[in-house]
Symmetry: none
Subunit: 184 residues, 2 copies
């Protein structure tokens, strides 16, 4: 199932969250390394060959999305779980396409995260999300968020360009992006 040592690499520039997460994982017996930037992440990934990677998407302005491919290259067999407070369908789709194994939104329970980190790479037998279709339609706020995120991705995370494309004011877009998406 996994190697003798299941090394975990936590990549999150939020110092507090990073520390809390690392401690929680350690308490459960996993060797953990926490880093705060993409550079550190790649260096450690190459060096320690972690089997599990937790990746935040907002790394000091830069998108953690860009790290998925190189991480996957360095650790072909690791489980990569993207964990972000600014979750959106667009980035989720992108992350999975790039090779991530799971995509979760903060806040998340440690058990959910662990499950995502350790579940078998491909297990068609599990029908978890498959039978969860009839939920509520997206709220207008959520809708707006998803739309913005999609266009933002299309524009390579260029805020000004996105604002122009969306025909809205850059200042307003900034403010909207600063707020966390609301659930449902």
């Amino acid at each position: 199932m996994s190697s003798i040592v299941d090394h975990v690499l936590v990549i999150d520039d939020d110092a507090v969250f990073n520390r809390v997460l690392c401690r929680a994982l350690k308490r459960r017996g996993y060797p953990v390394s926490g880093v705060h930037s993409g550079e550190e992440a790649l260096a450690l990934a190459a060096q320690e060959q972690p089997t599990m990677i937790v990746l935040d998407l907002n790394l000091a302005g830069k998108s953690g999305l860009a790290l998925v491919t190189p991480l996957r290259g360095l650790c072909p067999d690791a489980r990569i779980v993207v964990l972000t407070g600014y979750a959106s369908i667009a980035t989720a789709v992108e992350a999975i396409k790039l090779g991530a194994n799971q995509y979760l939104a903060k806040p998340v329970e440690i058990d959910t995260l662990l499950h995502a980190l350790s579940s078998a790479p491909v297990d068609p037998g599990a029908k978890t999300a498959i039978d969860t279709p009839p939920s509520m339609p997206l709220s207008v706020e959520r809708m707006e968020w998803e739309h913005i995120q999609r266009i933002l991705l299309e524009n390579n995370c260029n805020v000004s360009a996105t604002a122009r494309a969306l025909n809205m004011h850059r200042r307003t877009l900034q403010r909207k992006l600063g707020k966390r998406p609301k659930q449902l």
Copy 2:
């Protein structure tokens, strides 16, 4: 780039939406087949070997997610785009994992859908910023309007119910409906 005939298969149990979508695609020169159930979908997929597939997730109670794998099996080279009015990150992640090429939330502009249907198979390395399609994405206002109208229709034009479904205040919905949609 693509075969001589780019056959499109539209799978959506919403008769109205299905018809509208099919017509829009036909008008753009694509041979289109519209079906309303999973069984029809699989039958037609096997028979016509479509190169593009649009799949709704709410197929009369059953989740279209369960169709992704068999469809992928029948048409290994087709572009499969999941299109749903009840989008969620969980189903998005699942759809991509199962082999879908894109996941979009209704409402969606026909151009966006076409772009998703025809764009090259996932190529993460490509910096596709340059070949941005000339079409402008909908403004957030327009997006909101389309979404509201869709949910309103789903609720038989019941303003109160729509407000609840959208998790917004009835008064605000009323005011929004009072204003006419702005173009672009």
